[in-house]
């Protein structure tokens, strides 16, 4: 009930955004369907004439269909950049199989006797195709387009990951923030669209062959128009921002930044966290959110805008453990403590740079680091039946490296076995996994623990005032009390949120801090 109220409030507040996203969503679906029909139908007809090619072509389209959508978008980014192009292209690829297959099946389903009679009467091959085969194949063909449409409405939510808009923006923001109302705000309209399209095309399918031919032609006119919805002018400004969904929604992210610095004239798109740096690097966007220790800052020539009004709270990395782990294995505490205060901001940026830019293996990076610090011990031989320590990490390089550091220390200094469960997605997933006992330890950041997980009242946050020690103490006490989870000692670095710009552009515009960015936008 609470969620429902929150949902309607959200819709009410974000009505403009909702309408825009819905139109974008329809636009994406229609544009990709149009392309897929323009290629898929002729291809299906070709296959009906050359059935020998059918297994190869259908097989290829089938393989494309099985590529996970996120992975497909990932492949397309280097080729097509970010924005609508990769999104429409990916959706186009997904629609191909049902359209080709159903075109072929439709033509093959025409009774051979009808085709033979038509040829025997003296219809040319073209006439047989246009007057006999295509009209009779239309119901099956339309069923293929219907399938493709429903698939596309669903997959189009992922377009939000490549800054192509659509209802996925709300959904992924909501997932990143663990905000069910926000998820529903995007998911319900998306489901509604899918049902509406499905019902409409289902109705079309039931029409007589003759009406169907008319509707099919009409569709060729309507699809480009719907696709054009996507091109409706959007807000533009001097600079274009690209933010990850989590940053857009969370209290210590964009909202407080906008409030404190007055960044009202900064139009932004949402895109996958993994893509924001690429987008900035390729000048698809100018301002992005990031982490102050990210290796790509160095690799891509980006500049961290100084948070001169201390909007971003401190985000010191601290391992969070289940107390039972330390009670069961007392030998573990001193081992974990070896990393206390060992990693500075610059050290972490360097480690991240190796992972993100040099593409070194996190395990190798961890070993090299431990060797440099003299902490490296060769892994002890595995003992059968040894208790297992399960280490978790979120889905980015820094967390992978931290997990590998702990894994190497535990393997080298204790007889315990280690299992790493890396890539657990966002904060919420890691946290829930720890609470459920699916993992025993993962590195968390004090600011995240405070604002995302504990979500204290603004008064409490203000009272902490962004002081690192105060935040850690508050988080540690509250986690003990509420969840019976233990925050150990900080590793040393502060991986806080940061606004980033390309070094060159920032220099040109004379922007070194967020305040200066705000001033520039206000001019």
């Amino acid at each position: 009930m609470e969620t429902l109220t929150a949902l309607f409030t959200f819709w009410h507040e974000q009505a403009g955004k909702l309408a825009e996203q819905t139109l974008q969503h329809i636009g994406l679906t229609a544009a990709s369907l149009l392309l897929a029909s323009l290629l898929g139908v002729p291809l299906g007809l070709f296959l009906s004439r050359r059935p020998r090619w059918a297994p190869a072509v259908l097989g290829l389209a089938g393989v494309l269909q099985t590529v996970p959508s996120i992975a497909l978008l990932g492949f397309l980014i280097p080729l097509l950049g970010i924005g609508p192009k990769p999104a429409i292209f990916a959706l186009f690829l997904y629609s191909l199989l049902p359209i080709i297959r159903n075109t072929l099946a439709g033509i093959q389903g025409v009774p051979p006797a009808v085709v033979e009679a038509a040829r025997g009467l003296g219809l040319t091959d073209g006439q047989v195709l246009r007057r006999v085969e295509l009209p009779l194949a239309l119901p099956v063909l339309m069923a293929g387009i219907r399938t493709a449409t429903v698939i596309n409405v669903g997959v189009a939510t992922l377009a939000a990951y490549v800054a192509a808009g659509g209802l996925g923006e709300f959904i992924f923001g909501g997932i990143a923030l663990n905000n069910p109302a926000m998820i529903l705000a995007g998911a319900l309209p998306a489901a509604g669209l899918a049902l509406a399209f499905d019902a409409a095309l289902g109705g079309v399918q039931k029409l007589s062959t003759r009406r169907l031919a008319q509707v099919g032609t009409g569709l060729l006119v309507v699809l480009p128009l719907l696709g054009a919805l996507y091109l409706l002018p959007r807000a533009t400004g001097k600079l274009q921002a690209g933010f990850s969904p989590e940053f857009v929604g969370r209290a210590d992210g964009l909202p407080s930044l906008t409030k404190v610095y007055g960044l009202t004239r900064l139009p932004s798109v949402v895109l996958a966290p993994a893509l924001v740096y690429e987008a900035a690097r390729h000048a698809d966007v100018d301002v992005i959110d990031g982490y102050s220790t990210d290796g790509r800052i160095r690799a891509y020539g980006l500049r961290v805008l100084h948070d001169d009004r201390r909007v971003f709270p401190p985000y010191y990395a601290v391992p969070v453990v289940r107390p039972a782990l330390l009670l069961d294995h007392p030998e573990l505490a001193p081992v974990l403590a070896q990393l206390n205060g060992q990693i500075s901001d610059s050290a972490m940026t360097n480690l991240n740079y190796r992972a993100d830019y040099l593409h070194q293996d996190p395990k190798a990076i961890a070993e090299a680091f431990l060797r440099r610090r003299g902490l490296w011990r060769a892994p002890r031989p595995a003992v059968a039946g040894a208790p297992v320590v399960r280490l978790g990490s979120k889905i980015f390089a820094e967390q992978y490296i931290l997990a590998e550091l702990y894994a190497a220390l535990i393997r080298g200094n204790t007889n315990l076995a280690v299992q790493t469960k890396t890539g657990l997605g966002g904060t919420t997933i890691c946290f829930e996994a720890l609470r459920d006992g699916a993992i025993d330890l993962y590195p968390e950041y004090t600011g995240t623990g405070l604002l995302v997980l504990l979500q204290p009242t603004p008064a409490v946050v203000d009272s902490l005032g962004g002081r690192p020690a105060a935040v850690l103490n508050y988080v540690r006490a509250e986690f003990r009390r509420r969840y019976n989870l233990e925050w150990l000692a900080p590793l040393g670095f502060n991986n806080t949120y940061a606004l980033l710009m390309r070094q060159q552009q920032a220099q040109q515009l004379g922007i070194a801090s967020v305040s200066e960015l705000g001033q520039y936008l206000q001019q």
Binding site: A113, V114, A117, R119, G120, L121, G122, Q127, R210
Partner: protein, 416 residues
């Protein structure tokens, strides 16, 4: 068949292979205008392949087809086909076209005037017992199998092509419908002047419709000749064996009173002599007075359950005879009465044209025996299972004796 006119169709040394399998081997024949050739043979004998080579649905590996003296290869296949009617077993009506639109396909392709097309469609549908008012706007799936095949026929005839090719046109129909449609087909005025090539594996059908029969086996002509030649002068053992099962029934339907009685006897019996109709080798069929086929008339004259109705069923279902050759004719009462009752009733309910097919040859009037009357028809009259002259100059034993003697004569003539 002696004919001064040049052949309308001339096939020379046609052959066709599918893979390693020779389907048609070195087949040649001439066909005169107006002639009906039946391609007969067991499944896989190459008869359909041969037919499709005539309108280039299949291109021969060797040999040529000439139509009106012109090699068909010199024409575009579509142009050629628009000038040749084509009917297939599965009918192949365009399911998204109405009956009228289906009939109009070829005239439209040929660019005929819409008014002319409409008039032609109406005329054809009327003639084929599909009243346009009711059927023109219907779609094929709304029609029975027999009605669909009638539309298929109308479609083939719509542009009035001089040649009609039919590939097992009645094969997919139930025996009753098949017989009635076959009968309509025979009697269709439209077809009389046309050159017809028809493929079938049904011997009775072949004998009923053919001027000449080409009996094929394994892609080769076994014999090409009139039904009588195939029956009484088989070229080889295959031909003889092929007709063995139905020999008596075919003989009864092939031999006429003119064949079995001498001239003296005919005069004495008062049987009217009719000039043998050259080229029409089933005189009992083709030289009959054209039937009055009109639905109203049918409705008025037909009284279900009357003797007449029963006879009609018998007459129009040769397939039933096929299963009881000989005996069926001699003991018609029991069998035919039963059949009559069972079969006529659905005919009334379902289709008017179904009834039409079972009409007596001349409604309300007894036919007169002539030299062209078949032994079969005379037999039916004598046994009381078909209408005929009220007084007949010969008895059943006399008829059978003369028939037996005639068979013997044919036998000895062939042996010599």
């Amino acid at each position: 068949m002696p004919n001064a006119q040049p052949p309308i169709i001339r096939a020379s040394r046609l052959s066709k292979q599918f893979g390693n399998h020779a389907v048609v081997r070195d087949i040649s024949f001439d066909l005169a205008a107006g002639e009906t050739l039946v391609l007969l043979g067991p499944s896989g004998c190459g008869k359909t392949t041969l037919l499709k080579m005539l309108n280039r649905l299949i291109e021969p590996d060797g040999g040529t087809v000439e139509i009106n003296g012109e090699n068909v290869r010199t024409q575009r296949p579509e142009t050629l086909r628009r000038g040749i009617g084509y009917v297939i077993q599965q009918v192949g009506l365009l399911p998204h076209y109405t009956v009228a639109e289906n009939v109009a396909v070829v005239p439209r392709l040929l660019g005929h005037a819409p008014a002319a097309i409409a008039a032609r469609t109406t005329a054809l549908l009327t003639r084929l017992h599909l009243p346009p008012a009711r059927y023109a706007g219907q779609y094929p799936h709304q029609l029975s199998g027999g009605q669909q095949q009638r539309v298929g026929l109308a479609r083939a005839l719509a542009a009035d092509p001089p040649i009609i090719l039919l590939d097992e046109p009645f094969g997919a129909l139930d025996p009753l419908t098949r017989a009635s449609i076959r009968r309509e087909f025979r009697e269709l005025e439209e077809l009389r002047s046309k050159t017809v090539v028809l493929v079938t594996h049904d011997v009775t059908e072949a004998f009923e419709l053919a001027d000449r029969i080409m009996l094929l086996d394994a892609g080769q002509i076994q014999q090409l000749g009139t039904p009588r030649e195939l029956l009484f002068q088989p070229a080889n053992a295959f031909v003889r064996d092929f007709f063995a099962a139905e020999r008596l029934a075919l003989q009864l339907r092939t031999l006429t009173l003119g064949d079995i009685f001498s001239a003296d006897e005919l005069a004495k019996l008062g049987i009217r002599s009719v000039k043998p109709d050259i080229g029409l080798l089933m005189p009992s069929i083709k030289s009959k007075t054209p039937e009055i086929i009109d639905n109203k008339l049918v409705d008025n004259t037909h009284k279900p359950g009357t003797n007449k109705a029963l006879l009609v069923v018998k007459d129009s279902t040769p397939d039933i005879n096929k299963h009881t050759p000989g005996i069926g004719h001699l003991m018609p009462d029991i069998e035919n009465t039963k059949l009559g009752i069972e079969n006529v009733k659905p005919g009334i309910k379902e289709t008017k044209s179904g009834i039409t097919g079972k009409m007596p040859d001349v409604a309300g009037e007894h036919p007169v025996f002539t030299t062209n009357t078949t032994v079969h028809d005379a037999l039916e009259t004598l046994t009381g299972s078909a209408p005929g002259p009220t007084t007949v100059g010969f008895t059943l034993p006399q008829l059978m004796a003369a028939f037996g003697a005639a068979l013997q004569r044919e036998e000895t003539a062939w042996k010599r």
